[in-house]
């Protein structure tokens, strides 16, 4: 489904940072991959390279056989198939919850207003906030906003969902409701790549865990392998630090 080969990315401003160094990973359809690692390890950069919000310097990314980094590829078509959820929600503040979810359906998918609205209402029910359809984002709690953001991405019927630290900006009591939505999504067989610090989620939901450090992948394995008998010292150190 997703095939990342020898990906490199260096940021030059404000100073030189090698964000990705020779990263290769394959993700199968229906798989849930959780990417963990210390901050600055390149996990968000990897995620943002997948739908070309960042452009990798070298390497290849194929999503369903489409070469994402090829300049001739219509990136908008790729992005319509790849849903993304951001740490800071990034809902459109000038639009109601309903309009947030219908906008891209109408503009990109060219769906009719009623079709888009129906889809939005179904998804709002799914994420458990159908009563907030007419509200504006700033009238919602963080957890509710993030659930709307998930619904907004799902409305495009994506083949993959990317989650970039979806719970990091949330108050602790709201993390659960967002993770529940993501767990349901995983159960339904959605292909997901999740960057997170929620180890519980990784242990419970992930098919595989990717541990990154210093721009490279240190270790890939099942949660069971990863949390009970990691091979690399760096992984052991990281786990000892966070699981204290």
């Amino acid at each position: 489904m997703i095939d990342v080969r020898n990906l490199y990315k260096t940021f030059w401003l404000p100073q030189e940072v090698k964000a990705l160094v020779d990263v290769s990973v394959e993700i199968a359809a229906g798989e849930v991959v959780v990417v963990i690692g210390p901050s600055g390890s390149g996990k968000s950069t990897l995620l943002r390279c997948l739908n070309r919000l960042e452009t990798a310097d070298a390497g290849h990314i194929f999503i369903e056989g489409v070469d994402v980094l090829d300049a001739r590829t219509d990136i908008n078509k790729v992005r319509a198939e790849v849903g993304m959820v951001f740490q800071s929600f990034n809902l459109f503040p000038h639009k109601t919850v309903l309009d947030n979810i219908t906008l891209a359906q109408r503009v990109v998918r060219k769906r009719s207003g009623s079709e888009a609205r129906q889809k939005a209402e179904t998804l709002l029910k799914k994420v458990g906030i159908q009563e907030k359809a007419r509200a504006y984002p700033d009238q919602l709690s963080g957890g509710q906003q993030q659930r709307v953001a998930i619904a907004r991405a799902l409305a495009m019927d994506p083949k993959v969902m990317l989650f970039d630290e979806p719970t990091s900006a949330l108050d602790p009591e709201m993390i659960g409701e967002v993770l529940d939505v993501m767990k349901n999504l995983a159960r339904e067989g959605m292909t997901m790549v999740v960057v997170t610090h929620e180890m519980g989620f990784a242990r419970e939901v992930a098919d595989r865990v990717v541990f990154m450090d210093g721009g490279g992948i240190v270790e890939i394995g099942t949660p069971e392998h990863f949390f009970t008998r990691p091979t690399h010292d760096r992984t052991k150190l990281f786990l000892s630090q966070i699981l204290k």
Binding site: N76, A80, L91, F92, H94, V108, A153
Partner: protein, 340 residues
Amino acid sequence: METMTTQRPFSRRKARSRSYYTGAAAFFALGFGLATALYIATLQVDYVWRWNRIPQYFFYKEKEEIRADIEGEIEALAAEGENRRILIRGADGEKIIEVPAHDLRVAKGDLIAVGDVLGVREQWKVGLLMQGLWLTIKVSIIATVFGVFIGLFAGIARVSANPFFRWTAVTYVEIIRGSPLLVQIFIWYFVLGTLINSILAQVGIAQIPPPLWYGVASMATFAGAYVAEIVRAGIQSIHRGQNEAARSLGMSYAQAMVHVILPQAIRRILPPLAGEFISLIKDSSLLGIIAIRELTKATREVVTTSLQAFELWFVCALLYLVLTFTLSMCVKYLERRMIA
């Protein structure tokens, strides 16, 4: 938001210190003092204030004499509302002329020669200052509409990744903002105007655009450059995440701009845009130099004929003040509506 605005009058009720009252008193004393000083100074040069002569430059009554154009005798006077219908019968035939009743100068049976005054009709006419004010408003509105269009496109081009659009916009903005408006008006009128007019004449189009067009063009391109910078700042003030969210959903650059970025940017653009229009109204006073009789030029003409320079220039400034103040009030109202 609403509670904040309703609370405001109460917070003003708090007790005021003595320095507040002395400050307020000093303010009014300063205003009164300056006015008095000015008045005393005008007495020194024997200036005679004649405010009563000013209203006629806004509106005045024009008296039109209605004259007979045939010879004959008045046969009948019939009431027709406020008017009188005069029937003149002569050797050449008969004719009916209507004249206002209160200024009737003839009676039944009078003998009339060609050119005799039958009555006087009074009509209200718009004075020079009023015409100038209207032209200033007209020029400002047209230039504003075009200026916003130019500025919107230039502002969007300014943040484009494409060098053609970006460099074109940067060059335009820098040239316009780096040279005086007065010089730009001269270039529009004497250089571009001459070129366009002679080319139009060569291809046989006799209709040469009036100076007003060049004046409006210079104002619009001038305002456009400043609006472009306002638009650019507005777009750049929108958080990067908004664009990323829109693009990640598969929207193109243009779609993200139209549906997500611009609607949010417009709200932030509005207040500085209003300031720009207020400048535009004031800057239009320069257009007098290319024979556009806007408010300042009109005032200058009235001053030459009436010699009441002091009153007229004060009136002129006051009229501009009314325009700009009204506009800024409207925008404040709009702003409050948009935030709430």
